[in-house]
């Protein structure tokens, strides 16, 4: 396992709001805060050969526009945050100084230590695929990923599937059956599919397989709810 020497900011994360699916890394600067948001959902030195190969495969699929790579931000998209704050929170509750200390959970790690992942979406087939390499800070039983880490990345990927269709959504139910434990630092593919939409309810299912599709690690079903802009969450 490669250890990173550089202390680069990791920016991997899941967005649950309206998505700007851009095929190449985007640099945006916000002059009021002088913060630069960079897309880090691209290979870095900690990525193993398996995940790089899969990444290349999926980038090829993006060429005809049927698949799109989902860019990841460390702090979530500004647009999503603004919408969320405007519609769903009392303004007094959101402290600006707390905001600057926060990080999207799946991106709080140094390179290679946590959730190395990239998400690709296919709008027509309503499918979202996540290539995931879980690092040594995600351990449960010695040598294996923590069930909670697996739940987190499954929830993230299912959430993207729901968000593409529904905008700002939240997890209501999450069911995971673990078939086999996932070895630490191995590469897995999380496949998710939007099954059904009923009003504000989005039913998404998925599974976790090895890179060669020979091993089924987990299966999941979930329900996401589109947030009602008229209702406060607090």
């Amino acid at each position: 396992m490669l250890r990173s020497c550089a202390k680069r900011l990791r920016a991997l994360g899941s967005l649950r709001g309206p998505l700007p699916c851009e095929p190449r890394p985007a640099l945006r600067s916000f002059s009021s805060k002088k913060v630069v948001y960079k897309d880090f959902s691209i290979p870095n030195p900690s990525w193993s050969k398996d995940i790089r190969l899969l990444f290349d495969e999926f980038m090829k699929k993006c060429e005809d526009g049927s698949w799109k790579r989902f860019p990841s931000c460390k702090y979530g998209s500004i647009q999503r945050t603004q919408d969320f704050k405007t519609f769903h929170l009392d303004r007094e509750l959101t402290k600006e100084d707390l905001r600057t200390q926060t990080r999207l959970f799946t991106s709080s790690f140094e390179e290679g230590l946590g959730f190395e992942h990239v998400i690709f979406c296919n709008d027509v087939e309503k499918r979202t695929v996540c290539l995931f390499q879980g690092g040594p800070y995600l351990e449960g039983m010695p040598g294996f990923l923590h069930g909670g880490a697996i739940a987190t990345i499954i929830d993230t990927t299912l959430g993207v599937s729901a968000a593409i269709a529904g905008g700002t959504v939240m997890t209501a139910n999450l069911n995971i059956n673990f078939k086999r434990p996932i070895p630490l630092c191995s590469v897995v593919v999380i496949n998710t599919q939007l099954d059904k939409v009923e009003g504000r309810k989005f039913f998404v299912s998925g599974n976790v397989q090895s890179a060669d599709e020979k091993t089924l690690y987990s299966e999941a079903t979930s329900l996401f709810i589109k947030l009602d802009p008229d209702k406060s969450l607090t």
Binding site: R99, F105, P136, G143, G148, T152, M170, A172, L174, L184
Partner: protein, 248 residues
Amino acid sequence: MIRRAFQVVARCGQQGALLRAPCILPGLNPASAFGSSTDSLVSRFCPEKTDLKDYALPNASWCPDMLSLYQEYLEKTKSDGWIKLPSFKSNREHIQGFQLPSGLAVASDKDDCRIFTRCIQVEGRGYEYVIFFHPSKKKSVCLFQPGPYLEGPPGFAHGGSLAAMMDETFSKTAYLAGEGLLTLSLNIRFKNLIPVGSLAVLNVDVEKIEDQKLYISCVTQSRDEQKVYAKSSGIFLQLQLEKESSQQ
């Protein structure tokens, strides 16, 4: 009898059948096959003297609610049979001298592994939690304060961080209550978001132990129980750890 149990488990592991179907040990009553009593599991898990750092202790980042509830449960450890569980940097430290059953154990030379719920060690930024366990009632209470690095929706904890806290509390409870070792399933119904920096209390109960599986449930709510954050349940597979071989 224990040795034979290990051998059968090892054979199951090699056949790969271990995880697809619970491996019922032939000729052994499931209840007695997992013969380590809760008391012996607890004393193995909670060493009286250790150099290992225990992360489940108050620090400056704990909110007043968490501190006062912690004190309440600490009092209960003196007379009501509750035990405060230590929380080390890695599960390897918790099971020193033991290893996963052969067939499951992977040779691993990684020194820099951390248990997921102790992955962010900056005080107050990640998981701040402590678990109290009651051996005879087979219950646990986890005091959980999610920090700003666990954020999902702005100002609130990521659903995955709560799922991980549930899985971790289930995991320790299942192990001490009946050698539950691997999560078979998790089912979570999220009701409300947990604000970052606030206290969530997870009340965990072992519902039953049957067919080599532990069934366990949890209600996560605010301290005053006025707000339910989530309800969940899990199923764990019973597996005995093996003593570490002297070659390691």
